[in-house]
Assembly symmetry: C2
Homo-oligomer: 233 residues x 2
């Protein structure tokens, strides 16, 4: 086993995998590289890259970072760089070594998505001002608030609560309720965009995103809109 790929936060199901525990198990039983898709968790949930022994973490500007899409962010451990050195995959645009070289002069090797970069820079400054621990706590609180409100209106959370995401909550709909119709009605009548389910979960769940710039009032409005729409059925 050369590498384990883990999705930290699965936004289609609202599940946050127990990354720290998974890393411990992997490291106890193997020397595999640990590669983490943290697209929708980074900046919303704690990821102690070095302490947990993670080799590669990848995330993207449009999620909890509160910036438009256009920039991916990746971290590499020393072990990941050693694997890079052995890699025979053809590479050019995504040649990490080019990025490492250009990092020395503070530039990317190719023109980046500048509008995203400027926005992301502002966002990072805001995070530094707020304090990263506070950013995580804020996400954790709003997630708990969302789950509590959903339960208050009589709905169940899709994942076991221990594994519920801090950035998106997946709520089970009552049987025989058409989730796609609910999403459409809520958008039409309340101008609130809820997420629907994907693939096997299509029509069966509602997803409420709470990454970044979301406050309790936003969540209250969304859950109330959901309740009122269900009540009309």
């Amino acid at each position: 086993m050369r590498a384990v790929l883990i999705t930290h936060n699965e936004s289609s199901t609202g599940v946050r995998n127990p990354l720290k525990e998974l890393c411990e198990i992997i490291k106890t039983h193997s020397d595999a590289l640990i590669l983490v898709d943290a697209v929708s968790s980074a900046a919303g949930s704690i990821i102690s890259t070095d302490a947990w022994g993670i080799d590669v973490v990848a995330t993207a500007s449009q999620k909890s970072w509160i910036a438009p899409p256009g920039i991916a962010m990746v971290s590499f451990s020393d072990k990941a760089w050693k694997a890079y050195d052995k890699s025979k995959c053809p590479k050019y645009y995504y040649d990490m070594d080019q990025y490492r070289e250009y990092l020395k002069i503070g530039q990317p090797p190719f023109t980046p998505s500048l509008t995203t970069m400027y926005t992301l820079h502002e966002s990072l400054k805001n995070m530094v001002n707020e304090g990263i621990e506070s950013v995580f706590e804020r996400h954790s609180k709003i997630a708990q608030f969302t789950r509590d409100l959903a339960k208050n209106i009589g709905l169940d959370i899709l994942p076991e609560e221990n594994y519920a995401s801090d950035t998106v909550t997946a709520i089970k709909l009552p049987k025989n309720v058409d989730g796609k119709m609910i999403v459409n009605q809520v958008e039409k009548n309340y101008n609130i965009i809820l997420g629907g389910g994907q693939q096997k979960l299509a029509g069966k769940i509602i997803r409420v995103g709470h990454m970044g710039w979301i406050n309790q009032e936003d969540i209250e409005k969304a859950i109330l809109a959901l309740k009122e729409t269900l009540d009309t059925l």
Copy 2:
């Protein structure tokens, strides 16, 4: 010979390669795929993809398209798709077939740089309104205007004029003039950003960009700033 890669417009030297003629020669002597880097020429210079028998053309939003960086645009001929089918390169994010599949539902397979996409959409509408022939003519005229002004102040154009770019003009500086200093002085005293030379041409040329939103007045100001700065030496 399986493929020929051509850079249509070389922005570091202000050279536009004679793409049509090169394609004719390639097609006369081989069955090679013709892959064109049109990053800084597309939307500024004519590229008759099908008529000239070009298989792949790649360009980028931040050049003559008048949008921020963040989106690459690529065209594929049937022959290029056949080569794609045989290709054994590992691919995922740049798997063109995924883009082709998603094109059927009018979406990209991955979240695109949306801010760039909206800007690009506006820009494309403007181009359609202006008419693409007029867009090319405008670039051709402003390029000629730039070269004429440069010659009027006693400077030479770097490439032979038959091969001079429609989107960027490279101007030779008099011997013993430090081009980097000129670029710095012009920016400091006139708030105009000229391009310098790269690598072997560093310090020896000045580059004036005239892609997209540039008019004769802008060019006059830039060349006057260059002249006045040279006159102080």
